[in-house]
Subunit: 151 residues, 2 copies
DNA sequence: TTACTAAATAATAAATATTACTATTTAGCT
DNA sequence: AGCTAAATAGTAATATTTATTATTTAGTAA
């Protein structure tokens, strides 16, 4: 799986994260660690608001603004990545290994999948000459089986 | 190119569009035709607001709400597709041939590119068993050369 | 052509998501 | 232990999108 859920491994990622913050000149605050930790152990690609709710259990005084601001900062430093669904709220994830997304246009559920054959094929020239690439992935939109059953 | 800009061909698409509307039971209104036509001849994947500005030159009384509502309706009927950038506004396009997107995280410019090698490779099982797919494409985020030059 | 009806629109208000402001707190450094 | 710039909490403001309602119009059938 793309995300190892054992405590030890998650803590390894948290450690790497703190190192990356220091390298980037970002202060390692309680809030930042908790936001990163919550996102790391989330399997459902949460929104800022969903994360805020989770983190508020540990840090009741954390503000929603901090969550938004921090996620934006993390994204700028490529510590996390943003998933743009058709839903009104942006979604986030910690990327540990290359994967792709199946996104339901109805319930906005995001499913990860692997596609090694894709990861290996050569990129067209256009891509190489465009600029600095921070992520390259396949995004599939449609309606998931659960939603199909409902309608 | 993915989009033929000759008037004749665009009008062919407009005709097909009106046929699709009738099939779907959608009324063919001035507003809908102008919105579709404007999107069809736009090369910059415009937002609802950008489209509203363009269409207002022909139909000064058109409301922004109509543009939003109409784009949503078109999307539901797979007449157009939505591009989810990191920018605050959603972007749209008429899809005439299979293509993919390079999206700059700074200026949110969307560039189309073709990748026949991708279009041909086999899909993993996960995809086939997920639900009804309405679009499958490669999305690349990063910073374009223009923005790289600025910073 | 004219009249009918349901769908679509314009204008406006409301809701929602995100960002900005400011006083206070805190991490990292001396 | 104290200093300083960065980060945060609380709140306000902005921006985007959606809802409401009265009016208009496309499609249809007399």
């Amino acid at each position: 799986m793309y995300q190892n859920t054992s405590i030890k491994n998650n803590e390894d990622f948290v450690f790497k994260f703190t190192e990356s913050c220091k390298e980037a000149g970002l202060k390692v605050t309680h809030q930042r660690i908790e936001i990163y930790r919550a996102l790391l152990s989330s399997k459902d690609h949460p929104s800022a608001e969903m994360l805020h709710k989770i983190i508020a259990e540990k840090l009741p005084s954390i503000s929603l603004d901090t969550v938004y601001r921090t996620l934006a900062t993390f994204e700028q430093h490529d510590l996390i990545s943003r998933i743009n669904t058709s839903g009104s709220q942006a979604r986030f994830e910690v990327v540990t290994t290359q994967h792709h997304h199946l996104i339901c246009s109805r319930c906005n559920t995001v499913i990860d999948f692997h596609w090694p054959a894709f990861d290996e094929i050569d990129q067209p020239e256009t891509i190489r000459n465009w600029g600095n690439i921070s992520s390259k992935s396949v995004v599939i939109y449609g309606m998931c089986n659960i939603c199909l059953g409902k309608s």
